[in-house]
Assembly symmetry: C2
Homo-oligomer: 147 residues x 2
Protein backbone atom coordinates (compact mmCIF):
# COMPACT_ATOMS: atom_id res chain seq x y z
CA UNK A 1 0.00 0.00 0.00
CA UNK A 2 3.00 2.28 0.43
CA UNK A 3 3.92 1.59 -3.20
CA UNK A 4 1.33 3.76 -4.82
CA UNK A 5 0.44 6.09 -2.05
CA UNK A 6 0.22 8.94 -4.50
CA UNK A 7 -2.81 7.43 -6.17
CA UNK A 8 -4.20 6.40 -2.79
CA UNK A 9 -3.77 9.93 -1.58
CA UNK A 10 -5.79 11.27 -4.50
CA UNK A 11 -8.65 9.13 -3.30
CA UNK A 12 -8.59 10.14 0.36
CA UNK A 13 -8.12 13.77 -0.63
CA UNK A 14 -11.35 13.48 -2.57
CA UNK A 15 -13.08 11.82 0.37
CA UNK A 16 -12.01 14.70 2.58
CA UNK A 17 -13.13 17.29 0.02
CA UNK A 18 -16.55 15.73 -0.18
CA UNK A 19 -16.82 15.59 3.57
CA UNK A 20 -15.89 19.25 3.91
CA UNK A 21 -18.34 20.28 1.20
CA UNK A 22 -21.18 18.35 2.77
CA UNK A 23 -20.52 20.03 6.09
CA UNK A 24 -19.84 23.55 4.86
CA UNK A 25 -16.29 23.48 6.19
CA UNK A 26 -13.33 25.17 4.59
CA UNK A 27 -10.66 23.44 2.53
CA UNK A 28 -7.56 24.75 4.25
CA UNK A 29 -4.05 23.74 3.27
CA UNK A 30 -3.49 22.50 6.85
CA UNK A 31 -6.21 19.90 6.48
CA UNK A 32 -4.79 18.41 3.32
CA UNK A 33 -1.27 18.56 4.66
CA UNK A 34 -2.27 16.66 7.81
CA UNK A 35 -4.15 14.09 5.77
CA UNK A 36 -1.22 13.59 3.43
CA UNK A 37 1.32 13.12 6.22
CA UNK A 38 -0.96 10.62 7.90
CA UNK A 39 -1.42 8.61 4.75
CA UNK A 40 2.34 8.50 4.25
CA UNK A 41 2.72 6.79 7.61
CA UNK A 42 2.80 3.03 7.77
CA UNK A 43 1.80 2.60 11.36
CA UNK A 44 0.36 4.20 14.45
CA UNK A 45 1.40 7.69 15.42
CA UNK A 46 0.66 10.25 18.09
CA UNK A 47 0.18 13.99 17.87
CA UNK A 48 3.83 14.63 18.56
CA UNK A 49 5.03 12.23 15.84
CA UNK A 50 2.81 13.98 13.35
CA UNK A 51 3.87 17.44 14.44
CA UNK A 52 7.55 16.54 14.17
CA UNK A 53 7.09 14.92 10.79
CA UNK A 54 5.25 17.94 9.42
CA UNK A 55 7.89 20.37 10.63
CA UNK A 56 10.56 18.11 9.16
CA UNK A 57 8.75 18.50 5.86
CA UNK A 58 8.76 22.29 6.32
CA UNK A 59 5.10 22.62 7.12
CA UNK A 60 4.66 25.00 10.05
CA UNK A 61 1.54 24.13 11.99
CA UNK A 62 0.44 24.38 15.61
CA UNK A 63 -0.53 21.52 17.83
CA UNK A 64 -3.96 23.07 18.39
CA UNK A 65 -4.65 22.86 14.68
CA UNK A 66 -3.49 19.26 14.58
CA UNK A 67 -5.79 18.38 17.46
CA UNK A 68 -8.72 20.16 15.83
CA UNK A 69 -8.23 18.44 12.55
CA UNK A 70 -7.62 14.96 13.90
CA UNK A 71 -11.07 15.34 15.41
CA UNK A 72 -12.41 16.29 12.01
CA UNK A 73 -10.70 13.38 10.26
CA UNK A 74 -12.12 11.10 12.90
CA UNK A 75 -15.63 12.28 12.10
CA UNK A 76 -14.93 11.82 8.41
CA UNK A 77 -13.85 8.24 9.25
CA UNK A 78 -10.49 8.84 7.62
CA UNK A 79 -8.58 7.89 10.75
CA UNK A 80 -9.06 5.80 13.88
CA UNK A 81 -8.05 6.73 17.40
CA UNK A 82 -6.66 4.38 20.05
CA UNK A 83 -5.67 4.62 23.68
CA UNK A 84 -3.33 1.67 24.03
CA UNK A 85 -1.81 2.97 27.24
CA UNK A 86 -2.01 6.05 29.40
CA UNK A 87 -0.44 9.15 27.91
CA UNK A 88 -0.96 10.34 24.38
CA UNK A 89 -3.66 8.87 22.21
CA UNK A 90 -2.48 7.15 19.06
CA UNK A 91 -4.02 7.31 15.62
CA UNK A 92 -3.85 5.43 12.34
CA UNK A 93 -5.16 5.95 8.84
CA UNK A 94 -8.29 3.92 8.25
CA UNK A 95 -9.39 4.32 4.66
CA UNK A 96 -7.61 1.39 3.03
CA UNK A 97 -7.23 -0.52 6.27
CA UNK A 98 -9.80 -3.09 7.16
CA UNK A 99 -11.01 -3.19 10.74
CA UNK A 100 -8.61 -5.02 13.00
CA UNK A 101 -7.79 -5.34 16.68
CA UNK A 102 -4.58 -5.14 18.68
CA UNK A 103 -2.30 -7.03 20.99
CA UNK A 104 -0.09 -4.77 23.10
CA UNK A 105 3.13 -6.30 24.42
CA UNK A 106 3.43 -4.53 27.71
CA UNK A 107 7.15 -5.01 28.17
CA UNK A 108 8.26 -3.63 24.82
CA UNK A 109 5.29 -1.48 23.85
CA UNK A 110 5.06 -3.35 20.56
CA UNK A 111 1.60 -3.44 19.00
CA UNK A 112 0.48 -6.42 16.90
CA UNK A 113 -2.57 -6.19 14.68
CA UNK A 114 -4.88 -9.12 14.15
CA UNK A 115 -8.25 -9.86 12.71
CA UNK A 116 -10.52 -12.60 14.04
CA UNK A 117 -13.99 -13.15 12.59
CA UNK A 118 -15.30 -14.34 15.95
CA UNK A 119 -15.45 -10.74 17.12
CA UNK A 120 -18.11 -10.08 14.50
CA UNK A 121 -20.05 -13.07 15.73
CA UNK A 122 -19.97 -11.73 19.28
CA UNK A 123 -21.15 -8.37 17.98
CA UNK A 124 -24.04 -9.96 16.13
CA UNK A 125 -25.11 -11.90 19.21
CA UNK A 126 -25.02 -8.78 21.39
CA UNK A 127 -27.10 -6.82 18.94
CA UNK A 128 -29.77 -9.49 18.97
CA UNK A 129 -29.73 -10.20 22.70
CA UNK A 130 -29.81 -6.58 23.86
CA UNK A 131 -31.70 -5.15 20.90
CA UNK A 132 -29.03 -2.58 20.20
CA UNK A 133 -27.07 -1.30 17.22
CA UNK A 134 -23.33 -1.52 17.71
CA UNK A 135 -21.37 1.17 15.90
CA UNK A 136 -17.84 0.35 16.91
CA UNK A 137 -15.72 -1.63 19.27
CA UNK A 138 -12.31 -1.67 20.84
CA UNK A 139 -10.51 -4.88 21.66
CA UNK A 140 -7.06 -4.93 23.20
CA UNK A 141 -5.16 -7.90 24.53
CA UNK A 142 -2.21 -7.18 26.82
CA UNK A 143 0.57 -9.70 27.10
CA UNK A 144 4.23 -10.53 26.85
CA UNK A 145 6.29 -12.61 24.49
CA UNK A 146 7.15 -16.11 25.64
CA UNK A 147 10.66 -16.54 27.01
Amino acid sequence: MALNYVKDFEIVRKVLSEYLEENGQRKTPERYAILEEIYKMDSHFDVEDLHIQMRANDFRISRATIYNNLELLLEAKLIRKHRFTKGMARYEKSYFNSQHDHVILTDTGEVIEFCDPRIQHIKKTLQEVFNITIESHSLHFYGIRQK
Copy 2:
Protein backbone atom coordinates in the same frame (compact mmCIF):
# COMPACT_ATOMS: atom_id res chain seq x y z
CA MET B 1 -24.04 -10.74 46.37
CA ALA B 2 -25.12 -7.63 48.24
CA LEU B 3 -27.00 -9.86 50.67
CA ASN B 4 -24.06 -11.04 52.67
CA TYR B 5 -21.49 -8.45 51.90
CA VAL B 6 -20.34 -8.52 55.51
CA LYS B 7 -19.05 -12.06 55.14
CA ASP B 8 -17.72 -11.22 51.69
CA PHE B 9 -15.91 -8.26 53.13
CA GLU B 10 -14.18 -10.43 55.70
CA ILE B 11 -12.75 -12.41 52.83
CA VAL B 12 -11.44 -9.50 50.79
CA ARG B 13 -10.11 -7.86 53.93
CA LYS B 14 -8.05 -10.97 54.47
CA VAL B 15 -6.88 -10.96 50.87
CA LEU B 16 -5.73 -7.38 51.30
CA SER B 17 -3.99 -8.18 54.57
CA GLU B 18 -2.07 -11.00 52.98
CA TYR B 19 -1.12 -8.83 50.04
CA LEU B 20 0.16 -6.09 52.34
CA GLU B 21 2.13 -8.54 54.45
CA GLU B 22 3.74 -10.15 51.44
CA ASN B 23 4.82 -6.75 50.20
CA GLY B 24 5.87 -5.22 53.50
CA GLN B 25 3.26 -2.51 53.24
CA ARG B 26 1.38 -1.01 56.16
CA LYS B 27 -2.17 -1.82 57.15
CA THR B 28 -3.61 1.65 57.37
CA PRO B 29 -7.24 2.34 58.23
CA GLU B 30 -7.59 4.23 54.94
CA ARG B 31 -6.82 1.09 52.97
CA TYR B 32 -9.47 -0.98 54.66
CA ALA B 33 -11.97 1.86 54.54
CA ILE B 34 -11.48 2.26 50.79
CA LEU B 35 -11.76 -1.47 50.25
CA GLU B 36 -14.93 -1.66 52.30
CA GLU B 37 -16.64 1.20 50.50
CA ILE B 38 -15.75 -0.34 47.17
CA TYR B 39 -17.15 -3.70 48.12
CA LYS B 40 -20.40 -2.07 49.22
CA MET B 41 -20.86 -0.67 45.73
CA ASP B 42 -22.88 -2.62 43.25
CA SER B 43 -21.53 -1.11 40.09
CA HIS B 44 -18.82 0.97 38.51
CA PHE B 45 -17.59 4.09 40.25
CA ASP B 46 -15.03 6.81 39.73
CA VAL B 47 -12.68 8.49 42.18
CA GLU B 48 -15.18 11.24 42.85
CA ASP B 49 -18.03 8.82 43.60
CA LEU B 50 -15.84 7.01 46.07
CA HIS B 51 -14.62 10.20 47.70
CA ILE B 52 -18.16 11.50 48.12
CA GLN B 53 -19.39 8.21 49.50
CA MET B 54 -16.56 8.03 52.03
CA ARG B 55 -17.16 11.56 53.24
CA ALA B 56 -20.87 10.81 53.49
CA ASN B 57 -19.91 7.97 55.80
CA ASP B 58 -17.79 10.38 57.86
CA PHE B 59 -14.45 9.08 56.69
CA ARG B 60 -12.18 12.02 55.90
CA ILE B 61 -9.66 11.12 53.26
CA SER B 62 -7.83 12.95 50.51
CA ARG B 63 -8.10 12.28 46.85
CA ALA B 64 -4.35 11.65 46.66
CA THR B 65 -4.72 8.80 49.11
CA ILE B 66 -7.61 7.38 47.16
CA TYR B 67 -5.56 7.46 43.96
CA ASN B 68 -2.58 5.87 45.67
CA ASN B 69 -4.63 3.08 47.11
CA LEU B 70 -6.68 2.33 44.03
CA GLU B 71 -3.34 1.66 42.41
CA LEU B 72 -2.48 -0.71 45.23
CA LEU B 73 -5.82 -2.52 45.05
CA LEU B 74 -5.31 -2.86 41.33
CA GLU B 75 -1.99 -4.59 41.91
CA ALA B 76 -3.62 -6.82 44.50
CA LYS B 77 -6.20 -7.70 41.83
CA LEU B 78 -9.00 -6.60 44.16
CA ILE B 79 -10.37 -4.13 41.65
CA ARG B 80 -10.43 -3.54 37.91
CA LYS B 81 -9.96 -0.25 36.10
CA HIS B 82 -11.78 0.87 32.96
CA ARG B 83 -11.68 3.83 30.64
CA PHE B 84 -15.06 3.67 29.02
CA THR B 85 -14.92 7.25 27.79
CA LYS B 86 -12.62 10.23 28.09
CA GLY B 87 -12.52 11.85 31.50
CA MET B 88 -12.29 10.01 34.77
CA ALA B 89 -11.35 6.35 34.86
CA ARG B 90 -13.90 4.01 36.37
CA TYR B 91 -13.31 1.10 38.68
CA GLU B 92 -15.18 -1.94 39.97
CA LYS B 93 -14.61 -4.59 42.61
CA SER B 94 -13.29 -7.77 41.06
CA TYR B 95 -12.95 -10.42 43.73
CA PHE B 96 -16.33 -12.12 43.46
CA ASN B 97 -16.96 -10.93 39.93
CA SER B 98 -16.04 -13.16 37.07
CA GLN B 99 -14.32 -11.59 34.12
CA HIS B 100 -16.78 -9.88 31.81
CA ASP B 101 -16.82 -7.30 29.07
CA HIS B 102 -18.89 -4.19 28.41
CA VAL B 103 -21.26 -2.56 25.99
CA ILE B 104 -21.39 1.22 26.34
CA LEU B 105 -24.56 2.91 25.08
CA THR B 106 -23.15 6.16 23.82
CA ASP B 107 -26.34 8.18 23.97
CA THR B 108 -27.23 7.42 27.59
CA GLY B 109 -23.87 6.43 29.03
CA GLU B 110 -25.40 3.17 30.25
CA VAL B 111 -22.96 0.27 30.60
CA ILE B 112 -24.09 -3.32 30.01
CA GLU B 113 -21.97 -6.22 31.16
CA PHE B 114 -21.78 -9.44 29.19
CA CYS B 115 -19.72 -12.57 29.06
CA ASP B 116 -19.05 -14.48 25.87
CA PRO B 117 -16.81 -17.55 25.83
CA ARG B 118 -15.66 -16.81 22.31
CA ILE B 119 -13.36 -14.13 23.66
CA GLN B 120 -11.40 -16.84 25.46
CA HIS B 121 -11.15 -18.77 22.23
CA ILE B 122 -9.73 -15.72 20.47
CA LYS B 123 -7.24 -15.30 23.30
CA LYS B 124 -6.15 -18.92 23.04
CA THR B 125 -5.63 -18.61 19.30
CA LEU B 126 -3.57 -15.44 19.66
CA GLN B 127 -1.34 -17.00 22.28
CA GLU B 128 -0.59 -19.91 19.98
CA VAL B 129 -0.19 -17.94 16.78
CA PHE B 130 2.06 -15.21 18.19
CA ASN B 131 3.75 -17.29 20.87
CA ILE B 132 2.78 -14.87 23.60
CA THR B 133 1.21 -15.00 27.05
CA ILE B 134 -1.86 -12.80 27.37
CA GLU B 135 -2.41 -11.41 30.84
CA SER B 136 -5.51 -9.32 30.33
CA HIS B 137 -7.78 -7.82 27.77
CA SER B 138 -10.25 -5.01 27.32
CA LEU B 139 -13.27 -5.33 25.06
CA HIS B 140 -15.76 -2.52 24.65
CA PHE B 141 -18.63 -2.33 22.20
CA TYR B 142 -20.14 1.10 21.59
CA GLY B 143 -23.71 1.34 20.39
CA ILE B 144 -27.20 2.70 20.84
CA ARG B 145 -30.51 1.14 21.74
CA GLN B 146 -32.82 0.37 18.83
CA LYS B 147 -35.62 2.90 18.28
